[in-house]
């Protein structure tokens, strides 16, 4: 559900701001290309600015990086390291001035292939995984296919977004090979507000939900939809509105209008202000 063009636009905007001296910048070399990148960035951002194709699965601009999929690993070095290099997850390794990054060495490609090969064994029927595997040159998995294939790659994006902007309703349960994403006791999660952020951020479409004008069901829990007082469109659940009021002090009246009606009302109000002037 990620819009490539939105991300590209954001990155271009970021570049323009950085060129305008908005942030402190450092210079990093990626695959021989020199790029300027903001000081607080992680190496992945530098790689993208340099046009390097670094695959990711557990990364999303909306949440803090996690470093779980290991696909974004790159080899870094510095002139004073005397040839010694480090394999690091580019989503979490902070940029430094003078850092030298290689995104496609033998070691890097080995790791990427092993990772996607392992994921292919876990999720043999998942389109995104198969597509990535093919791109990395892995046609069939070398390992034992999961007895019960799943679409969940355990990237943790759903739990991370729920923790960051939601009620922390779901979590990673069990450890090791038994790990799975689930609500508490595998029952409909009491804290869930039906905002669908988890389903939207899920890269494989594993999280299923049904939604209509009147109701919405996700994680086995059913919610009542609120209708926009202006156009009648169903756009948030009652629980989501209550959550925003409870946690951010946003009054219920604000949630009474859907996003596009809010914009229209704002535009109308602005227009009226201009007229009265």
């Amino acid at each position: 559900m990620r819009s490539g063009s939105v991300v590209e636009a954001a990155l271009r905007w970021q570049q323009r701001l950085s060129e305008g001296g908005f942030w402190a910048m450092v210079t990093v070399t990626v695959d021989g290309r020199s790029v300027k990148v903001r000081e607080q960035a992680y190496v992945l951002e530098a790689c993208r600015l340099a046009g390097a194709d670094v695959p990711t699965l557990c990364h999303h601009e909306a949440v803090e990086p996690y470093g779980a999929c290991r696909l974004c690993m790159v080899e870094v070095t510095r002139p004073e390291w005397g040839g010694h290099t480090r394999m690091v997850a580019s989503c979490l390794y902070p940029v430094e001035d003078g850092l030298i990054v290689h995104t496609a060495t033998e070691k890097v490609l080995d790791v990427r292939r092993v990772v996607i090969d392992l994921l292919l064994a876990r999720c043999p029927n998942t389109p995104l995984v198969r597509q990535m595997a093919r791109k990395l040159g892995v046609e069939e998995t070398s390992y034992e296919k999961a007895a019960e294939p799943t679409d969940c790659i355990l990237c943790g994006l759903c739990t991370r977004v729920c923790d960051a902007i939601g009620p922390a309703a779901i979590s990673a349960v069990n450890r090791g090979i038994g790990r799975e994403i689930a609500p508490p006791f595998k029952e409909p999660p009491p804290a869930c507000i039906g905002c669908l952020a988890c389903a939207e951020i899920c890269p494989t479409g594993h999280i299923k939900y049904q939604t209509s004008d009147t109701s919405r069901t996700i994680w086995g829990k059913t919610f009542e939809m609120l209708r926009c007082s202006r156009c009648g469109r169903a756009y948030v659940t009652r629980e989501q509105a209550a959550f925003f009021e409870r946690t951010r002090g946003i009054p219920a009246s604000y949630m009474g209008l859907c996003d596009s009606c809010k914009r229209k009302v704002l535009a109308d109000t602005a227009a009226q202000l201009c007229v009265t002037r």
């Binding site: 739990t159 729920c162 923790d163 009620p167 922390a168 309703a169 779901i170 979590s171 990673a172 349960v173 069990n174 450890r175 609500p183 508490p184 006791f185 595998k186 029952e187 999660p189 009491p190 804290a191």
Partner: protein
């Protein structure tokens, strides 16, 4: 996985009163709850989440991550066979199988009368005594297959 409530939360309140209301106390609180109830009841987990101000999903995540916690009641006596390297070298696998044969349960399981739970542990630090079997709080060292029946016999009577 599915929760089992205990329906008596009085001991839980005493436990919560011993700790500050913060996430850092979570594991210690859960250990005391595990000790008090012999497992982590679902209603206790909910009350701990409330009491410490930690989201329920996160408490559940912690409860299922650490081996010290179980979500279903354990037997009165816990029989732990150590599977540390030294014990493995000295035949711990055979001991587990003997317990399975004698008590009729596999590791992680509890006897139908709830007297015994069999568990395997990854090293208890008594490696020079390998192989080690712990019955309740009692450590048995240098255990041979033939000793298992005797060791368990005392556990069954402990449970009564």
């Amino acid at each position: 996985m599915i929760g089992q409530p205990c329906n008596d939360l009085r001991p839980l309140q005493e436990i919560l009163d011993r700790y500050p209301r913060e996430e850092a106390a979570l594991i210690q609180v859960l250990q005391d709850v595990q000790r008090a109830y012999n497992y982590l009841p679902s209603d206790a987990i909910e009350k701990v989440a409330e009491g410490l101000g930690v989201p329920l999903a996160r408490v559940y995540s912690v409860a299922t991550f650490y081996k010290a916690f179980t979500l279903t009641p354990r037997g009165k006596t816990l029989v732990k066979v150590c599977l540390g390297t030294a014990c493995h070298i000295r035949g711990a696998k055979q001991l587990v199988e003997e317990v399975e044969r004698v008590a009729g349960i596999k590791p992680g399981e509890t006897t139908p009368d709830r007297s015994l739970t069999l568990e395997t542990v990854n090293c208890v630090g008594a490696c020079a005594m390998a192989p080690v079997v712990i019955v309740g709080a009692k450590y048995h060292g240098g255990v041979k297959t033939a000793d298992i029946r005797t060791i368990l016999g005392s556990a069954a009577s402990l449970a009564k």
